[in-house]
């Protein structure tokens, strides 16, 4: 590797101290204050500080907040509980750059599936390490093993050079390994502070007010201006993610695992997240980040590990990345990820459609889940043969718009017509029969039925029609045959059609949903974030499929917060802001900057002219 890890920098006045103090908020385990012999000089000071803290916490916050950081590195500040071996990286060892975590030859099988097949991962102190790979490559499985959620079938895990076993998530946390899972793990109807304190072990009676002020400081530190007593369900996705990160950092995390943290964030939020990650890196925290967006991985990470089919297929260190250059590195990663050169990204033929209007919304308004006006007098005309892209920052009415067309949400004003016929508030079943296909962004919530098999899910919407249904009876053979066709056509990776749908990786669930909707041969296809969580190749496949559908005379409404993919395949683009389409462009006339400004402010005015 030969990668020099700079020794952890001097304590930052705010950041690291902040988190250090936090560590002790919900958790008074001794390791919060553990220190090394080399720092024994500071020992008394530390002990003294602890006493001070405990005495004056609620009365003299200023003192606590402005005290010196307790210990100078994460490695030393965060050990493990008493009976567990403390991370004893001495100065000497540190100079040799001992990995903080090394996973060796990890095996994990799920029935016939080898999700991890002798996978190794080496993580150094103070680095951001990206784990990349196509859908179902085994990334989440590997992280879940490190976080104690899964038990490996084989292989070893070392922490600071000492072999450890991680029997449960709470053991992982005690070792300083904190995880933000692919599907969030906050309890929605508990408050922020309750979520943060959950799982820590201090006394029987909760003393929330004691930590509240300090938590508030940290929330501000992480650019989160929420009241710690507000219930988590009132926060936006981006805010929740920050709470997740704060939650694990406060447990004394020095290895932070993030499973696809950016899929749900807006570009601004992604930037904010990366700022946080870089700062944590400076403070000596090691970060593992899983993402499908290569540009992001290259932006933020020092090292890249690539998995394919449950096996290690490549690793790029900082030197490799530097010598290959960004484009070169990207090329190499893509090749390794998919096992060979992928077909050159297709350039799509975009054109101005002249077909007849298949879907028309005129002056439609609707109320959102929280009683707010989500859609305001919105009008769209969608022609046969075109893809109409809805660009916008998440939460500007995109979800509601999709739901209106799918018949899941009632409109308060306006009209919805399909091919000239009025279908206003006609309901899901009617609209589906009339030829509307809807691909939701909430895969597990409303896209599929989690308890059912792949085959049942594939037949879900047409189960009461021939050939699946013969009078009162269901034809199992026909259901299975249908599933197998779809699996084949869309190359869905599943052990069999009888496998429970939730056991598939996210990308494969998405492919199945797409296959199911398209199999019904809709005239109008509405999709919300169809490439969410998909690997490059699958995402490309989905976009290509949508383009083909449009070219064969269907009308496609593509709702997405990824401007890139909208630009890639749409013929027309509408920018949605605050429930309104504020501007429409022909693809050829798009000015990306204007679109960006419209997305953020709803206005195209140049920022400078306002000054």
């Amino acid at each position: 590797m030969g990668h020099e890890i700079a020794s952890p920098p001097a304590p930052l006045p705010v950041g690291r101290g902040e988190i250090e103090r936090l560590t002790c908020l919900g958790d008074s385990r001794p390791h919060c204050h553990s220190e090394r012999s080399e720092e024994s000089l500071r020992g008394d000071e530390v002990t003294g500080m602890r006493e001070r803290k405990e005495k004056h916490v609620s009365t003299n916050l200023g003192e606590v907040l402005h005290c010196e950081p307790l210990v100078s590195t994460w490695g030393t500040s965060v050990g493990t509980t008493d009976d567990m071996t403390d991370g004893t990286a001495t100065t000497q060892e540190r100079a040799m750059v001992q990995p903080i975590v090394s996973m060796r030859e990890i095996d994990k099988r799920f029935g016939p599936v080898r999700a991890n097949d002798k996978v190794s991962l080496t993580l150094y102190p103070g680095e951001i390490h990206a784990v990349l790979g196509e859908n179902g490559a085994g990334k989440t499985t590997l992280m879940n093993i490190l976080s104690g959620m899964y038990q490996p079938d084989g292989g070893t895990i070392e922490l600071d050079g000492k072999p450890i076993t991680i029997g449960s998530p709470s053991e992982a946390l005690a070792h300083g390994i904190g995880t933000v899972y692919q599907h969030f793990t906050l309890v929605p109807n508990l408050s922020v502070i309750e979520n943060v304190v959950l799982g820590t072990k201090t006394g029987f009676v909760l003393n929330l007010s004691k930590g509240e002020q300090r938590l508030k400081e940290v929330l501000t530190e992480f650019e989160l201006n929420t009241d710690p007593n507000v219930e988590v369900r009132h926060l936006s996705i981006g805010q929740r993610q920050r709470v997740e990160i704060i939650k694990v950092l406060m447990r004394g995390t020095r290895v932070l695992l993030l499973d696809e943290p950016t899929s749900v964030l807006t570009p601004t939020e992604v930037e904010g997240l990366f700022r946080i990650l870089r700062r944590l890196r400076e403070e000596g925290v090691s970060v593992v980040i899983i993402t499908h967006k290569l540009e992001e991985a290259l932006d933020v990470s020092d090292r890249v590990t690539i998995l394919r089919g449950g096996k290690n297929v490549g690793e790029l260190g900082p030197d490799d990345i530097a010598s290959a250059g960004r484009a070169g590195a990207r090329q190499r990663i893509v090749e390794t990820m998919f096992g060979g050169m992928p077909a050159a990204a297709e350039t799509f033929q975009q054109h101005v459609a002249t077909g007849k209007t298949l879907l028309e919304l005129s002056g439609v308004s609707a109320i959102g889940d929280r009683g707010e006006i989500a859609i305001r007098e919105l009008s769209i005309q969608l022609r046969a043969g075109e893809i109409y892209g809805i660009a916008g920052v998440d939460g500007n009415g995109q979800k509601e718009l999709g739901e209106i067309i799918a018949g899941q949400r009632k409109t308060t004003t306006g009209r919805l017509a399909l091919d000239g016929t009025d279908y206003t508030n006609a309901g899901v079943a009617t609209l589906s029969r009339a030829g509307v296909g809807y691909i939701t962004d909430d895969r597990l919530g409303e896209g599929v039925v989690p308890g059912m098999s792949v085959a049942q899910n594939a037949a879900l919407k047409t189960i009461n029609r021939s050939p699946f249904s013969k009078g009162f009876w269901l034809d199992r053979k026909a259901i299975e045959a249908n599933a197998n066709t779809l699996i084949e056509q869309f190359s869905v990776r599943t052990p069999s059609a009888q496998t429970k749908i939730t056991l598939l990786s996210g990308g494969n669930i998405q492919k199945l949903m797409l296959a199911r909707e398209l199999a019904m041969d809709p005239r109008v296809i509405v999709c919300n974030k169809p490439t969410y969580g998909l690997d490059l190749k699958t995402a490309q496949f989905v976009l290509q499929t949508l383009r083909q559908e449009a070219d064969s005379g269907k009308a496609v409404l593509l709702i997405s917060s990824e401007l890139d993919e909208i630009l890639e395949i749409s013929d027309r683009i509408g920018v949605i802001y605050n429930g309104e389409i504020v501007e429409t462009f022909e693809r050829a006339q798009v000015d990306i900057e204007t679109v960006g400004r419209l997305m953020l402010s709803g206005r195209a005015a140049v920022a400078g002219s306002a000054a």
Partner: protein, 314 residues
């Protein structure tokens, strides 16, 4: 002032006193059930646990002539069934509805059999003397004095448990764990909470309280056992837990309301209002149904209620 020869004040006192007494077993069972439900356990065995509490409590009290021993035996019986429930649903992940009903049916059969076997089916009463406490001055207040401040010790204890349970649920680590586990067990597990352990504890508490409720009924209140004597009070407690929105305070309120309606029905008969007794007896149940229907839309049931949890299963 009198109605049909009964003094109005006495009449009101009687309603209040009976109502509060009727509410005691309900509130006891409900308080425990809050923890079960908040931890994600739908305990349809509650009726059986209560009935077992009645029988074993009565059996112990009959032989020892001691109220505390009777209560302990009742709680132990409830706890034993609760542990059975927990092993089957939490560990083996058998369907909770199935297990709950099975336990209720089993307890009905078992107590009926044992009662016939041990007491020959004869209605005997236990000669126990529950301790009563008359609080000076307060007990002299008209109407409420006798109903509230001249009662047996257990009556006070039951109502004192309301704030205690509210505190444990909302202000302690255990309570927080319970609330998290019933809402999102995966999140709780990820945060380091031992989901299985919390569910076991919550279920044990629910069982103990159901047993307590039963024992109160058979030992402290009626001092007799009859086959199937709970007559659905366990299920009513379960409904009250939901109607009360899983808040001990509101549950106490709902239980009192139910008890009062019950007592009112009885009293109307006593003063000779000319309505069929069956009709009056229906009152409280209609009340429960209306409350359930009205509140069903507003309450948010714990998201993981009746859903088993196993780490690493998706």
């Amino acid at each position: 002032m009198t109605i049909n020869g009964i003094d109005l004040f006495d009449f009101l006192t009687a309603i209040l006193a009976t109502g509060l007494l009727r509410a005691v077993p309900l509130v006891l069972a409900s308080l425990g059930d809050v923890f079960a439900q908040k931890a994600g356990l739908l305990n349809l065995g509650i009726e059986g646990m209560m009935l077992a509490g009645c029988f074993f409590g009565f059996y112990a009290a009959y032989h020892t002539e001691s109220v505390p021993l009777g209560l302990l035996a009742g709680m132990a019986a409830g706890l034993a069934l609760a542990l059975l429930f927990a092993v089957l649903t939490v560990h083996l992940r058998v369907d909770q509805v199935l297990v709950g009903l099975a336990i209720t049916i089993f307890a009905a059969g078992l107590t009926g059999y044992l009662f016939r076997d041990l007491f020959g089916g004869q209605n005997v009463s236990a000669s126990v003397r529950p301790m009563t406490i008359r609080i000076p001055l307060l007990a002299d207040i008209p109407i409420i004095g006798k109903a509230l401040f001249d009662r047996q010790l257990l009556f006070y204890i039951a109502w004192l448990l309301v704030p205690i349970f509210a505190f444990v649920l909302n202000r302690t680590r255990f309570g927080l764990n319970v609330r998290a586990v019933g809402e999102n067990p995966f999140a709780a597990d990820a945060a380091g909470v031992n989901v299985i352990q919390v569910r076991y504890l919550a279920m044990s508490l629910a069982g103990i309280m159901a047993g307590f409720a039963g024992a109160f009924l058979a030992v402290a209140d009626l001092k007799i056992f009859t086959i199937g004597m709970t007559v659905g009070q366990g299920f009513i407690a379960l409904a009250i837990t939901m109607i009360g929105g899983w808040s001990p305070w509101k549950i106490a309120f709902a239980a009192i309301l139910f008890g009062m309606l019950n007592a009112l029905g009885d009293s109307l008969q006593i003063i000779g209002v000319n309505v069929r007794t069956e009709f009056i007896g229906m009152f409280p149940y209609i009340g429960i149904m209306i409350a359930m229907i009205v509140l069903a839309r507003r309450t948010s049931v714990p998201a993981a209620l009746a859903v088993p949890y196993a780490r690493g299963q998706r």
